[in-house]
Amino acid sequence: MQTTFEKQLPLETKPVNAARQWIWMGFLIGLLIVGAYAIVTRAVEGLAVTNLSSTTPWGAWIAFYIFFVGLSAGAFLLSTMIYVFGMKNLEKIGREALLTAFLSMILALTFVLLDIGQMGRFWHALVYFNPTSILAYEVRFYTIYMLLLLVELYFAMRPDLVRTAQADNGIRSTIARLASLGSRDLSEAAMERDHKWLKVLGIVGIPIAIFGVHGGTGALFAVVKAHHYWNSAVFPIIFVVSALVSGTALLMALYIIRQKVIGKKPDISMVQGLATIMVGFLMVDWGLQFYEILISVYSRNPHALETFEIMFFGPMWWTFWIVQLLLGAIVPIFLFFKYKHSVKAMLAAAVMVVVGILAVRFNIVVPTQLIPPFESMPGSYYMPNALEIMASAGVISLGLLLYTLGVKYLPVDMSKEQLELLERGE
């Protein structure tokens, strides 16, 4: 039995360096403890322990929330390129895309939970409904979307879940047996059915992700007429495009890092494929943002002009010029055109793009709120305090921990058999 199991180990990679793995897990658990302290403090003391105020009611946690919703929508849309539009060269990361999309949603909603005033009332958002509230629709879209992701993840992993369940591989097999929901069918017909389901769910999911989940999150801001900077029709579109940018970049980074960890050479043609998608969307994103800024400036709306003044020349000017523009766009585009063949350069580009989009999210949420509604009202200043950062680090490390456990115990990588089937199909 042992020998057959060896054969069925996905990708036949060398085992992950145990010491390094423990250091990584220890690091995550350490952050988790720090985060747990911050979250418990916040739960007991309320939002008074944050730097939020009545003048700046939304801060870092809301920025992280839209950041992770964006990552999720982007990762999911990338998965539809595989399962709906048949981009076979990307199929290796299809499951990873779905897993990332699901976990990102968990993180996004955790951030929202932290942010609402009375956390115990989170269920009100599902029970009560206001037909004019974008947020009310969003809550429902998020729920449907996460269920859809789970079902898709099941169909994407099913053949390998069945294989792992049949192998005698300790806890992995036990998990696979439970997760396969009793399915034992490895016939061609069954796999075709899986793909059909993936396609159908992907097609249903595309409008949900574009218009519901992330376009809707953009609309949540865009309908607020009190903030001129948000109040534009192109805003939801920018949200979707930057979601595609960050989702692709994150998957690219995760793929490269994990291939290195399991001691395999990353598939350079796939990395380049992902990089092309990322840079393409990145350029569209900046084109749209340019027009957004241009139109706002031409409107001469004092509120909008002040927002840009804060964004471009305020105390946090570097988040726009250095993080968002230089590291988040110019350097990655340069790397793409100059060092396309270097996996390391592509990894650096991907990480920089993800960080750049995080700055985009902060600059969406914070600067416009720093301007008081009336000139004669006191303004405010907002920077996340240590506790907010600790809690955020804790939530993110929870996500990374779930991801690490996910790729360790679930067949997120395609088994050798599946890869062979994939190649034969081409």
Binding site: S54, P57, G117, Q118, R121, H124, H227, F374
Partner: protein
């Protein structure tokens, strides 16, 4: 038949005929009747009379026992023009009680809603504290209750909370309403229920604030708005929120 007529015409005998035997059922019956011809409260503020003393802000804080950092009413002091042609204007700003409230539109759980009497209310039992309404209000009229207290400088502050919306709230303590929720001016709804004016109106030193029923053509506010039509304006009318606080410039 309108609300008032039904209320008056309902004799004890008729109530029994309808099978209504107790006060609670009677109240339920009354509230099921359309109240659209009941009073619709508005406020009129004469800026020529406002001296900017902020007595309204103080009275509001005392009446509603708002915690540190929350003031339902403020007086904005604006300076216009360039030297030597300058003028100063004081603009008191309570909640505008908009007919199309941006805050109520965005509330995901419908905790904020427009009452028939024109007041925009917050249901403290439903609000989750997401603060979307605060971001959406063009007038900065909403505050979040961070749970702060004056207990350190004012003994007994936490012992009693104002009975906003006519609902007794008891002690101010962690985890109880409205801590962790959005708050705002209620036009002193609890005072209206007792037949009193809002605290800011009652206290105004220069008699700059007026309050009344705009559905009643003979009310002071209706007459003021009619006779001073050229002076009437509302804050940020271009936002189409249709505020129910009128200013006379």
């Amino acid at each position: 038949m309108g609300y008032q007529e039904i209320k008056e015409s309902l004799s004890r005998k008729e109530l029994f005929k309808r099978g209504i035997t107790n006060a609670q059922e009677f109240a339920a019956e009354l509230s099921s009747i359309d109240n659209s011809d009941g009073p619709k409260w508005v406020m009129v503020i004469d800026l020529q009379k406002c001296i900017g003393c902020s007595a309204c802000t103080v009275a509001c804080k005392a009446e509603n026992r708002t915690p540190p950092g929350i003031s339902y009413n403020i007086v904005m002091k604006e300076e216009h023009g360039q030297f030597p042609n300058v003028s100063k204007v004081n603009i008191p700003r309570p909640c505008m009680q908009c007919d199309k409230p941006a805050c109520g539109e965005v509330c995901p759980v419908k905790a904020t809603y427009k009452m028939d009497n024109g007041i925009v209310a917050i249901d403290y039992d439903r609000c989750i504290g997401c603060r979307y309404c605060m971001v959406a209000c063009p007038y900065g009229a909403r505050s979040y209750d961070f749970g702060e207290s004056y207990e350190g400088e004012m003994l007994g502050f936490d012992e009693l909370q104002a009975n906003e919306y006519g609902i007794a709230k008891g002690k101010r303590q962690k985890g109880s309403n409205p801590i962790g929720l959005a708050r705002k001016c209620t036009f002193c709804y609890h005072r209206l229920q007792r037949g009193e004016e809002p605290a800011c109106v009652e206290t105004c030193v220069g008699d700059a604030r007026y309050f009344g029923d705009i559905n009643d053509p003979n009310s002071v506010v209706s007459k003021m708005l009619n006779t001073n039509a050229a002076r009437v304006y509302r804050l940020r009318e271009y936002m189409s929120t249709q505020p129910r606080v009128y200013y006379l410039k």
